[in-house]
Each structure stands twice: as structure tokens, then as C-alpha cells.
Symmetry: C2
Subunit: 482 residues, 2 copies
């Protein structure tokens, strides 16, 4: 009997791999070690739980431990893998009680995920200051935002939750003013959530427009929507410090490179969302190759450079469909897809993990936005392209049909070859899902001329004769030809 | 000075060609002959005008005659081209007054469009019975549906409208019960329109499910939605006759191949929407080659087999992206795109008209549906494929996010090569625009395995981690591999 398939981490990538492996090779053993108590939760749903759109925290769990068990997966919660020895194909495991043992593996998947970076801010020990990257924090934020006499403890209805922390936060007076630090998608979604909960929300962003990865055209539309909904946006406003004793009292911001003085804003809540970093420490002394973003380098089948060691999810790189190079984009589908493919491969059905098109979508109140591929000028130049771009504003429906709304589409192409490199979209009327057309065209290596001739859907309630993406392709193609 | 570029027909294809030609070759002459008085109207908007969602008929005009004039296009309304002599490159034109003259051309574009077929029904002379394919009929239907004292003559605010016909219809008592004959997209959209106007609507369809071109899965969802909204659906119910003296009184239906007796339904309105046919008679004696559907055969640049004679729009074929063969799909984007490409080509910038993916979308109340490529079993077999299909029902958003709705996706692939052949989608939550992903994948000749690995957008408000299209690809791919 061969050694089992060992998975480190019981979230999207790890459990997708274990499940697919068991279905494909039902007679072989798989063990999943998870150092915490939470498994398989919907990270992306946390802002909507805080907003109150999701009633119960348990709604955010994709799989319960007993469902994992029913799949024939040996799941061990509270078991931390603390060392990997690839020479003898063995991991060292430490239990919650402090016991240690050695576990041999046939194949190993490292799916350790990522963790929120906090920048210069240490929010530990400061009530009202949070870094949103796990369910316990989401539960604590939800409790903190509620008035003590209005908090419903049934909201955090998962046994794994840190109930002491929830209760402590629920007992505090509800905040009135919140600073959100970081204008990426977590920041934008949290701004919506807290504004909908009735707070006066200030969103601070280091650079000139929100959602830097989505490009300026999208950032401006999202900023306009947030402003209209009462959120105060501070761009070019790096936060310098989060101040207070025991409980947060203020944030200081605006010390720019030009030495301008910091301003201070009194707040009774802050949420830091400045980015995440990959958890790779487990492989520190193994000779593993790290790549883009410090994540674990993987090949088209999710293999690392260590024999029989795979990596997937937020701790691993993936191949970018446009550049053909390794990239690090910690997103949900990437993790699920890579985990599933690796599970199949290890079970004997070699399956590519697939390229990423760096597709992302985000909602801010009624504004929808999407992006895919290479949008940034410097990134495109670095990848060897000569980028040319065009932003158009087009209607989302036939002009005479009620609900037609201005939709901004940006497309970027390579001047020499005409190849589509990337695109973004923003608008209130079904804009986000349209980015899938761009993502598909990118994965097919289409030129912008080919995009211009796509036979996209037309009917007055859904699109004008020339879909906004076709309009952008037409104009950009004219610019390249001209 | 060379002879002008002559265009026959001033609708989407003709005016797109003339406009692009003038922009590309501003010094050259273009003449557009239009036998009627209407130009450049939004055919697809007519049901929404009848529904009352569009307030004024003039909202449906893309271009006014004076705007055409401002583009430097010599537009002659009331001028019918009655003959083409390709040997001497000359057309014969007859004016509304009955005068005739010869017009030489350098290049000729035939953009004569299509006309509604009426099946066995002659609705002329029968008040309350209509065939919806032109603006005068849309105006007449709108007037007929209104109570005489409630009709607003400002609705039909276009000088070209047949005002006598409008007034005669407006004066009649408003109908209570309408039969719609034909369950294609015109029939479905008109059913919605008349039901929203308060009529008791019966929709008759010859075959077993509505929207035959969209496949059974879509037809069933649309039928359920129409039924829920109070429309009575009669499938497998060919209408035998439309009966009445002066004004319509009843429709007889249900004489099947099995000799079942016809039933009669008392109605005071009927709309026939059983299909359209291409207007090709102008080229009858020229040796022009006709293709699929009896439409004028064209090549990748829109050329017919006659020298310097092009055809575009509802009268012409186009190349199908999946089969590579000629196909006839009279749709709005195809006409606009081909016209524009032909205008550029004739002006000296050779531009392909582009393949069609046979993409179509339709709305029935809150149900959205789309289709692309080859869905029909027999059509796929005929094109040399071994079709295998799968229909899945998946959520439109993360399950915990409000508004998630069941979305049905059907994908068809070739068993031998795995190539995607077609797809359809139906659901109430942003389903229609998602068909663009399928259309793009079809134009890129993707396999269903490649579709399964597409990096489509994920965020809880817009899509589950696995987009419904990815779910369908996953299941279909498993079926092919298995």
C-alpha cells in the first residue's frame, strides 16, 4: 500500500484537490491537515456578511467537516504541519495538544493560503481596529458594528467561531465613524458594507485612484458611486498611523513624499485591507523555488520544483494567459481550479491547472466593475509589448430601452501584432459579467481585430447593436491601423 | 470620375456601408436608393414600442434623413431599384411617380433586407390581424390595442408613418384577447408586449417547445415564465386559419398530422410571426448564386458571384463560425457589421465581414435567454460532427448572496475532437449576456476542455466560484472523457 496523498490546508484548493482525488481514485487514501478550526469558507462573502446581506455565518461555509468526512477524506483539524522533508517524503505534524508525529506521503499538496498584510499597522490589542482576512474577524466586526442591545448572537452560528472575541466586541458601544485603509476590492466592498450598516465611512487609498489593478477609468466610476452613496474618499492619502489606547481613536494620514503634514481623523473603527501575502514558510528550508510575489513556483500541473510536491491556491503562482509567465493572483476560482486539477493529476489523470487571465470583478453599491489581462502600462512594457489603449463610453442597452446606462470599456492591445492584452469595464447595468468576453478572448490569444468581429449578443434589453466591448475594439483597432 | 457606389436599401446594412464608405473615401460618391419612406429603424425595438416601454416611435430611428444627408450620402427615398444589369454595371430605378432611369455603378451593394412570411394566412383586409415586420404595422398595432379615447397620436411621431392606417386602427374598440402565431423570438416578445398592455394572450407554436432555435431547455424556462405571467401557451398547435369578416373573430388550431379536430378560439386580435424570407427578387435574372435559406451567397468580403456586386444584411448569407459553411441568420449585428466592412472594402480598405456565431438573445418578462453556435442535433450531424450535449442547472451567484437564481446552461461538443459546437442559457439573473462567453469561445474554436479552464469572473454578487458555463463545461467534458 502506497503512502497517502497529504494535503496541507483545508480551504478551497486543499479540499478541491482531496475531493477530486477521492472521486478519481476511490481506493487511495488522502489526509488533510488543517492547523485551524475553520475549513472551506467563502472568504469573498465576508463583506456581505458584515453588510447584513448574508444572515448567518454558516451560510458562508461551502463544506462542513462531516460532509468532508462523507467524501472519504481524512480531515484533521487542529493539526499543523510544521516541517516538510522532501528527501524522505515525510511531513512533521504538531497537534493542538503539542504532540508531534511524522507522516509519510506519496504526494504532497501545499495549500497553505495567504494572510493579510497589515502594512505598518499593528492592530492587535486595539479595540475597533481590524484586519479582515478570516471568519473570526468578520464575526468580530459584525458584532462590533452592532449596538450591544441589538446584536444577534445567532449571526455567528458556527462552532469554530471565537465566541469570546465576538462577545467582547458585541459589548462595546457601536461605532459611528470608520476608516478603511486600502482601496482595493476588499476596501471597496467593506466601505459599502459599513456604509449600509449606517456608519460614516472614510476610505483611504495610497495612490491616485481606487482599485489600482482595474485602471483609472474603473477607479473613477467606482469613486463617483461611493461618493454619491456618502462614502468619503481620500486618494493619494497613505495612512500613517492608527492611534488610540485600548480602543481606536483616530487615524493620521497624508504624509506624502512631498512632506505635507499629516491630518488626523477621529474614528471609532478602522479596517485595514492593504493586501495579502503567500504563506510559504513551511517550505522555507526545503530548497523550494519561489516566484512572483514570493509565492511558490508551480508548473502547468501545479508541481513545485520538489519531487511529488504540489502547491495551489493563494500560496502558489500560476501561468498568466497573456504573458505566458508566472504570476501571483490570489483569487477564488484559481484556487478551486488548481486544486481540482492537481487532485485529478495525482489520482492518475494528468490535468492542467489552466492559465489565469487575471480576471476580477467587484461591486460598489450599484456600480459593477471588471478587469482581465494586462492593463498597466509598465507591466505590459515589461512583458515585451508595445501597449496602446482606448477607453470608450457606450450604452449598455439600445438607447431607447429603459435602463440603458453608460458603460466604460478600456481595451489594451499590442501595437505591433494587434493582440489583445487586457481590458476593463465599469457600469451599473450588467457590466461585470461582460468582462468574461475579454477573459475568453485573452485566453484565445485574439487580436483586437478579431474581437471587433465577434458575434456578440444583441437585443434591446441587453445590449445595443454594437456591444460596448465591440465599440472599444472598433476604436482601438482604428487607432492601431491608423 | 468613376461611377458611384450604389446601395439598394437604406436600413442597417445599406446605411452602415454608405457611412463607412464616405468616411473612408470622402471624395467618392455614394447613392442610396430606398423604395419606401422609412430608413434605418430599429426593427428589434418594435415589440418594446408596442409594450409602451418606448414612448415615441421616433426613438426607434437610428438616423434621420437629414443626418444621412449631413454624412454626404445621396439618399433617395421613394426610389425603387427594379433591375440590375451586371454586364454593363447599371441599375434601373423607378421613382414613386413611375419615372424610370438608368444609374451606372462602380460597385453595387444589395441590401434589400427580408420580409415577414405569413404562412398560409392572408391578413390583408382583416382588421385586427397583423404581421409584424415594419414600423407602419407596429404603429397600427399600438393604435389598435389602445381604447379609441385613450390613444395618443403623438406616439407615432414620424412623418413617414401611414397615418390613415394608424387612425383607422385607433378608432376601433380595443381588443381583449390576442392570438400570437409563432413562438420564435418575435412571438415571445410580442406576447410579453400585449400581456403588459392588459390583453389575454394566447401564443401558438407549431412544434413542441417555444424558441425552437434555442433548444428545449431554454424553451421550457421561457414557457414557464410566460405561463406564470398569464400568457396561455399552445405548443404542438399549428394554427390552421384566421377567421372573420372585416374584423378578426377567431383562430382555428390543432389540426395535427394525426387528424385531430381543430379547436377554435375567439379572439379580436392576431399577430403572425412565423418567420422571414430574404428579398432577392431584384437579382432574379442576373445569374446570382443563392445559398442557404434562399439568400444571396456572399464570400468573406460580402461579394456575390457577380462582379462588383455585394450583398449584406437580411438578404445575404454569412459564414458560420462553427461549420465554416454559409448560413443565413437575419440579425441586426450581422447586417451592421457586414455593411460597415463592405463600405470599407469598396473604399479601398479590404475588411472581412466576419463570421457569425449565430448568437441570439431574447427576454420574456424577467426570463433571459441566449444561444450561440450549433444546438440542433441534426444540424450538428449534417455538419459532420458527433454531437454530445449536457444541460446543467447552476446558481447565478454565490448561494448565500441574495438574488442567486437557477441558470440552465446547455453545451454541445463534438465527441471526437472535444470542440465546442454551441450553447444556450436561460435564467432570470443576468443570463443573456453570459452567452457572449460561448460566442467568443466558438469563434476561437475552443474545445470544451479549454472552456472548462477559462478564467471567468467570480464575485458573490455576480457569479459563483464556478460560473454556470464552467459547470456545464466540466460536466460535458467528463462525459466526453468517460
Amino acid at each position: 500500500m502506497s503512502d497517502p496523498f497529504v494535503v496541507v490546508g483545508a480551504d478551497a484548493a486543499g479540499l478541491s484537490a482531496a475531493s477530486k482525488f477521492r472521486r478519481t481514485a476511490p481506493d487511495r487514501e488522502v489526509v488533510v491537515f488543517e492547523k485551524g478550526r475553520w475549513i472551506s469558507y467563502a472568504y469573498c462573502g465576508m463583506p456581505y456578511f458584515i453588510e447584513g446581506l448574508v444572515e448567518r455565518m454558516s451560510d458562508l461555509l461551502s463544506l462542513s467537516p462531516s460532509e468532508v468526512d462523507e467524501r472519504g477524506i481524512d480531515l484533521r483539524r487542529g493539526y499543523e504541519v510544521v516541517a516538510v522533508d522532501p528527501d524522505v517524503k515525510r511531513v512533521t505534524v504538531e497537534t493542538a495538544d503539542g504532540d508531534r508525529f511524522e507522516q509519510p506521503y506519496g504526494d504532497l499538496l501545499v495549500a497553505t493560503g495567504g494572510r493579510a498584510t497589515t502594512g505598518p499597522f499593528d492592530v492587535r490589542g486595539l479595540d475597533g481596529a481590524f484586519t479582515l482576512h478570516d471568519m473570526d474577524t468578520a464575526a468580530a466586526i459584525d458584532a462590533y458594528v452592532a449596538e450591544p442591545d441589538e446584536y444577534d448572537p445567532e449571526r455567528a452560528d458556527v462552532s469554530a467561531v471565537d465566541r469570546d472575541r465576538v462577545e467582547r466586541n458585541a459589548a462595546m458601544a457601536a461605532p459611528e465613524t470608520a476608516a478603511i485603509i486600502g482601496g482595493g476590492y476588499v476596501g471597496v466592498e467593506t466601505a459599502e458594507a459599513l456604509a449600509e450598516r449606517g456608519l460614516d465611512v472614510h476610505l483611504f487609498h495610497r495612490s491616485g485612484h481606487l482599485l489600482s489593478d482595474f485602471g483609472a477609468a474603473v477607479g473613477e466610476r467606482v469613486e463617483a458611486e461611493l461618493t454619491e452613496r456618502g462614502v468619503t474618499i481620500h486618494t493619494n492619502a497613505p495612512v500613517d498611523s492608527i492611534d488610540g489606547n485600548d480602543r481606536i481613536e483616530a487615524v493620521a494620514f497624508g504624509i506624502g513624499d512631498d512632506g505635507t503634514d499629516a491630518e488626523s481623523l477621529a474614528v471609532d473603527m478602522a479596517v485595514v485591507g492593504v493586501g495579502i501575502r503567500p504563506n510559504t514558510e513551511l517550505l522555507d528550508d526545503t530548497g523550494v523555488a519561489l516566484g512572483e510575489g514570493g509565492a511558490i513556483s508551480t508548473d502547468e500541473h501545479g508541481r513545485t520544483n520538489l519531487p511529488d510536491v504540489y502547491a495551489a491556491g493563494d500560496c502558489a503562482t500560476a501561468r498568466h494567459a497573456v504573458t505566458g509567465e508566472e504570476a501571483w493572483m490570489p483569487l477564488g476560482l484559481t484556487a478551486n481550479r488548481a486544486g481540482r486539477a492537481i487532485g485529478a493529476t495525482i489520482a492518475g489523470d494528468p490535468t492542467p491547472v489552466g492559465d489565469i487571465a487575471a480576471t476580477a470583478v467587484v461591486k460598489a453599491f450599484d456600480m459593477e466593475a471588471g478587469r482581465a489581462g494586462l492593463l498597466d502600462e509598465d507591466e505590459a512594457l515589461e512583458a515585451g509589448f508595445d501597449p496602446v489603449r482606448e477607453t470608450v463610453t457606450a450604452g449598455s442597452r439600445s438607447g431607447y430601452y429603459p435602463g440603458a446606462a453608460e458603460t466604460d470599456v478600456t481595451l489594451v492591445a499590442d501595437r505591433d501584432t494587434g493582440r489583445l492584452l487586457g481590458g476593463s469595464i465599469a457600469g451599473p447595468d450588467r457590466a461585470a459579467v461582460r468582462i468574461d468576453t475579454v477573459a475568453t478572448a485573452l485566453e484565445a490569444d485574439m487580436t483586437v481585430g478579431e474581437v471587433e468581429r465577434l458575434d456578440l449578443a444583441y437585443a434591446p434589453p441587453f445590449s445595443p447593436v454594437w456591444d460596448p466591448i465591440l465599440v472599444a475594439a472598433k476604436v482601438l483597432n482604428g487607432k492601431i491601423d491608423g
